[in-house]
């Protein structure tokens, strides 16, 4: 793809669905080093409690303002953070194309993330919605902006891996 505006609604929808499938595949398989490549260089990635979003408060639980920030998060996951081993599995549903913001495709989707710790049953970890802006870079769909707004305000201890 080169210019999103020229694509048919059906093609956009198929492309968006493929992007989310690839994105979650990357995270669920813990290929975190590839995660920043789903974003353009000057991107915005945030994980925001719904209470802040609804009240217009600017604080994010997790804020990345460039691909460099995303890479720093990966360094932290791999090298600096101390945490119990776990699996996080994310499921996405209800991908919907909401319109255009300039040349950026506005997409929303619902997600749920499940956490499995070694000595515990799997639990619902984080539930929310993606509010995304998508563009094309090097012939590939990429996120210009990805905001994860989560309903489950009380985080079960730590949010270590991206959503």
């Amino acid at each position: 793809m080169t210019a999103l505006r020229q694509e048919s609604p059906a093609a956009l929808r198929a492309a968006a669905e493929a992007l989310y499938a690839e994105y979650l595949g990357c995270l669920n398989e813990e290929r975190f080093e590839e995660w920043p490549d789903f974003f353009v260089e000057r991107c915005l990635y945030k994980i925001v409690p719904r209470e802040n979003f609804d009240r217009g408060l600017p604080l994010a639980t997790w804020l990345c303002e460039s691909r460099g920030y995303l890479k720093d998060r990966v360094v932290s996951i791999r090298k600096t953070s101390v945490y119990a081993p776990r699996y996080i599995r994310r499921i996405v549903s209800g991908i919907r194309i909401c319109g255009w913001k300039g040349d950026l495709l506005e997409v929303r989707a619902d997600y749920a993330a499940f956490e499995t710790l070694l000595d515990d049953l799997t639990r619902v970890f984080n539930v929310g919605a993606y509010h995304d802006l998508i563009t094309v870079e090097d012939g590939r769909l990429k996120f210009q902006e990805k905001i994860c707004i989560f309903d489950s305000m009380l985080v079960p201890n730590s949010l270590i891996f991206p959503l």
Binding site: P49, L57, L63, V75, T80, V82, M153, V155, N157
Partner: protein, 407 residues
């Protein structure tokens, strides 16, 4: 409670593991600490700026509502209808003219005064309350309130010293350093539920020993290390404390050779996250514990209240309120929001603490016959310590704790 628990003979250098999981101890803490002679942090005035605004929060297990009444005064009332015990307020924040319990519609004003009881005179002269029933005697339970420079504390105690005296002059000075009377601006909230006893979070902040060892991120970027200048202050009672550090060089020396986690080649891909501006005199980090439920954080340009809310012996909620000043320009607000990446449930630094405390809980809850060792820097504590290689703050806290708990 039975007196079946007794403190280890060694005294302050031992910490019996039953303090983290015994339900009787937990019940006694609720009664003697959270409902006892303590000032508990509940809100910032900036959260309830207008008359009619309220915030619902907790002191220990008890839900309370902080309100601003029509005269502009701050009130704190227990979130429990005087009639049948209904927790009538269910929102974190909001605005009302009066509170109405949904069950039988008893209504209260913002100071907790009972205004009306439906069918008080009965219907068609049948039923109703006895004629001597007095509204004045059935208001909400009101707590004592202390406000200082925009910060609200409350107490269940009938008789308690003024907040300033409770904090002591050294802690008060450090408190006033951030809360200097400037109007505050709320930046947002973060909440995490940590599967660990509430005292562990207070201990964690009172433990500068761990900071240079556990937090690879902090020390690799020279934000806080034991070989940097440090100053610790404890109030005369032992219950509150403050740790101050200021930024130093980040090279491997004989002093830090033992800090194995030090990764010298670590560089941020995007250094804009750590672009601090000097805002206060002398210290770059001040972390304070105000007994029993508040950690006050000034870490470079991130300012936050971390409120500890107990959730049974084996869990606590840490409710973070990040803030700045109303006079901050856009660049300063952005800086505070960026640096907030270090803190909270996804914090580059705080992740280690939440996880670490959960590990302590797991290790100790199945070994209530065993004790922890607190011998770093001796067996007592000093009001002033010029280094971070100490466990004096934790010993001081438990000395106070044992008096209150009669343990």
């Amino acid at each position: 409670m039975t007196a079946r628990r007794s403190w280890p003979r060694e005294g302050s250098t031992r910490l019996p593991y039953w303090v983290y999981s015994d339900p009787d101890i937990y019940a006694r803490e609720q009664e003697r600490i959270f409902c006892g002679s303590t000032w508990n942090y509940v809100a910032l005035e900036a959260e309830i700026p207008e008359a009619g605004d309220f915030k619902r929060t907790f002191i220990g297990d008890k839900s309370v509502v902080v309100t601003r009444d029509s005269e502009g005064c701050v009130n704190v009332v227990e979130n429990r209808c005087a009639h049948r015990g209904v927790q009538f307020c269910q929102q974190h924040l909001g605005h009302v003219r009066e509170f109405m319990c949904p069950y039988h519609q008893w209504t209260y004003d913002l100071s907790g005064k009972l205004l009306g009881v439906p069918f008080r005179r009965g219907i068609k002269a049948q039923g109703g309350m006895p004629s001597e029933f007095s509204l004045a005697e059935h208001g909400l339970r009101r707590l004592r309130v202390a406000c200082r420079n925009g910060v609200i504390f409350a107490s269940f105690a009938g008789d308690i010293e003024p907040l300033e005296q409770y904090l002591g002059c050294e802690i008060l000075q450090l408190f006033d350093r951030v809360f200097d009377g400037r109007q505050l601006k709320i930046l947002g909230y973060s909440r995490q539920l940590t599967p660990a006893n509430w005292k562990l979070v207070m201990e964690n902040i009172k433990d500068p020993y761990h900071a240079s060892l556990l937090h690879v991120f902090l020390l690799s970027f020279g934000l806080n290390r034991a070989d940097q200048p440090n100053r610790l202050v404890i109030d005369p009672s032992g219950r509150h404390a403050a740790g101050m550090t200021w930024r130093g060089e980040q090279k491997r020396t004989t002093d830090n050779a033992e800090m194995r986690s030090l990764l010298e080649d670590l560089k941020l891909n995007d250094p804009s996250m750590l672009d601090p501006v000097k805002e206060y005199e002398r210290y770059t980090i001040v972390l304070m514990t105000i007994w029993p439920n508040l950690v006050m954080q000034q870490q470079s340009n991130t300012l936050a209240m971390r409120q500890v809310i107990t959730k049974g012996p084996a869990a606590f909620e840490l409710a973070w309120t990040f803030f700045g000043y109303a006079t901050d320009d856009a660049a300063m607000t952005q800086r505070r929001l960026r640096q907030a990446n270090l803190m909270g449930p996804a914090g580059f630094v705080s992740i280690d603490d939440g996880e670490g405390l959960a590990f302590v809980q797991r290790g100790t809850s199945c070994a209530t016959e065993a004790d922890g060792v607190l011998e770093m820097d001796g067996c007592d504590w000093a009001q002033e310590t010029p280094h971070a290689v100490t466990e004096g703050e934790i010993r001081a806290m438990y000395e106070h704790y044992r008096k209150v708990m009669e343990l």
